[in-house]
């Protein structure tokens, strides 16, 4: 099973008729994900890959009983798409879109708190995969393998790198997901660690962080006080300079805060083993599993 997504996920793809939306709809379908609907305003009545397209998320929920949404709509419309999904009753919203204005996300978060029933993953993230069951995201499915390691990350391709290292060593994953590289994201490390801690099929957790913000430091506190399962971490950006944005809008050391050293120190103080190289993550997990 894993966390968040699985056989019970009934997916609606928002922005299904765009290039990215179409491409990944096919990829997810081939992986076995249960896609029940697409939404593109103005394209209701169309079909994509034998999936019915609606004008509104409300219809996708009412008619097709969608409970999970993935969002591929362009950045200037993405905040509206998230709020539409939340108010239509979608329980899990995964937003892939990169480049959403920060103030739009601040507004979204305040609406989500008011609605109270929707969990958001992302934006600017690769999505969530429960290997062998359901892939709701843009990650390459074939590098994953069902197993008992939970993987949570702020990154995309770096996650793939580490997942592949795990799979190469024969270590499978319960669920792997990216929480996104933006300053304001729907779910943070603690939200996900809490789920992994409670998940019966997860034995160890890999946390992949990077410079910027305080999310890893808070995670360290949570791990120290609330987690029984072992956590292995990797933090990217030891060599990143201060004041420069490293690709992700959220990956920036500001006022000397949010450095990799600071994060590594906090995690190690919480008893987390921090790998120096991506491949080392797999070695540390392997050592635990034997």
């Amino acid at each position: 099973m894993g966390i968040l997504v699985g056989k019970n996920s009934r997916l609606v793809v928002q922005g299904i008729t765009g290039n990215e939306g179409k491409f990944h709809t096919l990829q997810m379908k081939q992986y076995g994900t249960n896609i029940v609907a697409g939404v593109t305003p103005g394209k209701g009545g169309d079909w994509v890959e034998n999936i019915p397209v609606f004008d509104t998320v409300k219809e996708a929920v009412n008619i097709q009983e969608a409970n999970t949404s993935i969002i591929f709509v362009p950045p200037r419309f993405a905040a509206d798409a998230i709020m539409e999904a939340a108010q239509a009753g979608i329980g899990l919203i995964i937003c892939i879109t990169e480049g959403i204005p920060v103030l739009d996300m601040a507004r979204v978060q305040s609406v989500l708190r008011e609605v109270g029933t929707a969990r958001l993953i992302g934006p600017n993230c690769p999505g969530v995969i429960t290997p062998g069951e359901s892939k709701i995201g843009i990650m390459p499915g074939h590098i994953h393998k069902p197993g008992s390691v939970g993987v949570v990350s702020r990154s995309g391709t770096l996650t793939y790198e580490i997942v592949q290292a795990l799979t190469n060593k024969g270590i499978g994953q319960s669920t792997a997901l990216g929480i996104g590289g933006d300053p304001i994201i729907g779910s943070n490390f603690i939200d996900i660690l809490r789920l992994f801690e409670a998940d019966l099929l997860t034995d160890q957790v890999v946390l992949i962080g990077e410079i910027g913000g305080q999310d890893e430091q808070r995670a360290a506190e949570f791990i120290a006080t609330r987690m029984s399962k072992p956590v292995i971490a990797f933090i990217a950006g030891r060599t990143a300079p201060s004041g420069k944005r490293m690709g992700h809008a959220g990956a920036i050391i500001e006022g000397g805060e949010g450095t990799a050293e600071e994060k590594i120190k906090a995690l190690e103080a919480a008893g987390v083993k921090v790998a120096r190289l991506p491949e080392e993550v797999a070695e540390l997990i392997a050592a635990m599993q034997t």
Binding site: I100, P101, L103, A106, E161, G213, A236, G237, A251
Partner: protein, 378 residues
Amino acid sequence: MKLHEYQSKRIFAEYGIPIPKGNIATTAAEARQIAKQLGGSVVIKSQVLVGGRGKAGGVKLAKTEEETHKIARQILGMSIKGLIVDKVLVDRAVSIKDEIYVGVTIDRSLQRPVIIASAEGGVEIEEVARKNQDAIIRLPIGRRTGLLDYQARNLAYDLGLRRDFINQFVQILKGLYTAFINSDASLVEINPLAVTEDDRLLAVDGKIVLDDNALFRHPDLAELRDTQEETASERQARQVGISFVKLDGEIGCMVNGAGLAMATMDIIKYYGAEPANFLDIGGGAKANKVATALSIILNDIKVKAVLINIFGGITRCDEVAKGILEALNSMEVTVPMVVRLVGTNEKEGRQILAKAKIPTATTLGEAAQKIVALAKGV
């Protein structure tokens, strides 16, 4: 995107925030003319997008028109942290009794805007924070409620402002917050907000950083970009949608994905060399983007070797390989290169590179070790 001091202050003025009288000059003669119009002493301030202008000699006082001319000539053309000064702001000088800091930014953990204020203005807020965290007041603002009058007033009291400044301060703070929201800024800052000898509040220096992702909503602000302040490489990268940050090392790197790009820099360092840049080509890059990225890297004369690390998901390895060949065909490349390609269409990509006899690697560790060895000429 950072705005210059003079641009920021002009925007502040649109929101009713008082700023010193002044104007921008690109020649010493213009500076003298502005000083003449203003009358009295002026401050001549280099307009470059870096901190520490004062320490670098880029901010000076002049008492006469003559002196203004002389000092402007000194400052125009000088280099501050690698940036050439091509314009100066000439502001009427003011006598300052007290300096306040006030800014608005996004609090990442609270997920909402926060007003930051300190009675100890005039220095960088990070410096104040290091010395005395208690000297800083943080006031989170509901994204939808906005800044309420009483909050602004209470902040004024907490800063210990004299009673007759309270209303002025409330107006300035409301203007600043509105400027932050209306321009989709990630930071607006008045530092110092001066209490003058003649009992006014005045935004003597200011800064605005805009959210690049929201510039589509603000074509007027997007036009304020000072392309003189970018290097040719930065401009080229921005125009094709590549994230690029110049660093000081000798190993150029091209990666897809920001996290993996940082990890690649880190591993280069781990094996004993220094990265020359951060470069993320983003997802699904086509051959021509790859070629542009490679040319940006190779334009850096410090670069002694190039590591290309691609984990294909949306990005196809054969497209990357094609882009590499395209770049190599159009420029003379004298530095060694190692390419590590995995993921989507990995085999096709490797075949293309094998034909061109470009060395490849399977794992990131292997690739990094190879490139460090090549750079050191081992």
